[in-house]
Amino acid sequence: MGAQLRVYRQKISSAKTTKKITRAMELISASRIQKAKQRVAASGPYSRAVTRAVSAVATFSNVDHVLTTEPEKVERAAVVIFSSDRGLAGAFNSNVLREAGELAARLEGEGKEVVYYLVGRKAAGYFAFRKRDAEQIWTGGTDSPEFEIAKEIGDAVVSKFLQPASEGGVDEIHIVYNRLVSMLLQVPEVVRLLPLEIVEGVEAPDEKDVLPLYEFEPEVDKVLDALLPVYIESRIFNAMLQSAAAKHAATQKAMKSASDNADKLINDYTRLANNARQSEITQQISEIVGGADALSSAK
């Protein structure tokens, strides 16, 4: 076998092996994304209910509480970045990290110090490589997020939020995560959790409407104190689930195009290998014919 032909055969078999792996990963993601999407849908009612309650309080009462009031001066802002533990998901992680970078640049431009909280090995690696500091890092389990982890993250950021800025506390909390728009589209999203910015699911009350007067049990302050961590946890848990579903979708898409590329490579190299084999045969024939001619003319 000719040297050229052997090189092509090697390339074909290597592309085939790669294709087997990428095809398997594509199928695994495809089966997991359904589960992940169901979990996002299942957590919907909870986060909707919590958000409704929080915004009801914010809209319908004029209580002074950290949850509802804008601080006069923001010294420090916390940014929570949700990445994944593994790569092979196209631009999934770089998108969310780039978005976080833009957010941080904007915040720093406004004279705020940025404190990072990272979720997922990829964000941790990105920060470690650039020797940037992160306040706290959570890795592992981004594929199927647990509520316990969301609670832990929530506790960490809320306790920072409640600390006064002079003792290293933060005045704002932002989250950056990938949202699953469709199987083909994942969009990095930046949401400011605190102070409350977006009021979802509640229509702005009309001027004419009489606002319901909420009764609180035990007291307004205590209810709000209890509601604050619950609200943050639910938003963080929702972001983690969204990010997990988006990761599976991104992996599936990336692995599909990898498999398609492998197919194309196999096709191309098979053509080249056939060409090489054919020219080898042609050469051998012409050598034999040439040799036979030489022998017969030598007689």
Binding site: P45, Y46, P212, Y214, A226
Partner: protein, 86 residues
Amino acid sequence: MAVLAVSVVSADQELWSGEATQLIARTTEGEIGILPGHEPLLAILAKGEVRVSTADGQTVTAIADNGFLSVENNTVTVVASTAELV
């Protein structure tokens, strides 16, 4: 007679939703009963039972922990980070 639209929700799923005539829950201050037409309320729940008397005369009981109860315009939402039906 008006009925309450009740939903009992935990962190990872909606446990029960439907129409009810009465709901009894335990807040940090003590047990509270909600009937149709109750004024808007936001209360913190203590760990304990939430009993819902459904419109067709049955009783649904759930154990809720670390949650709260909101009542608004005959819509009652019981939200708990951990909850299960009994």
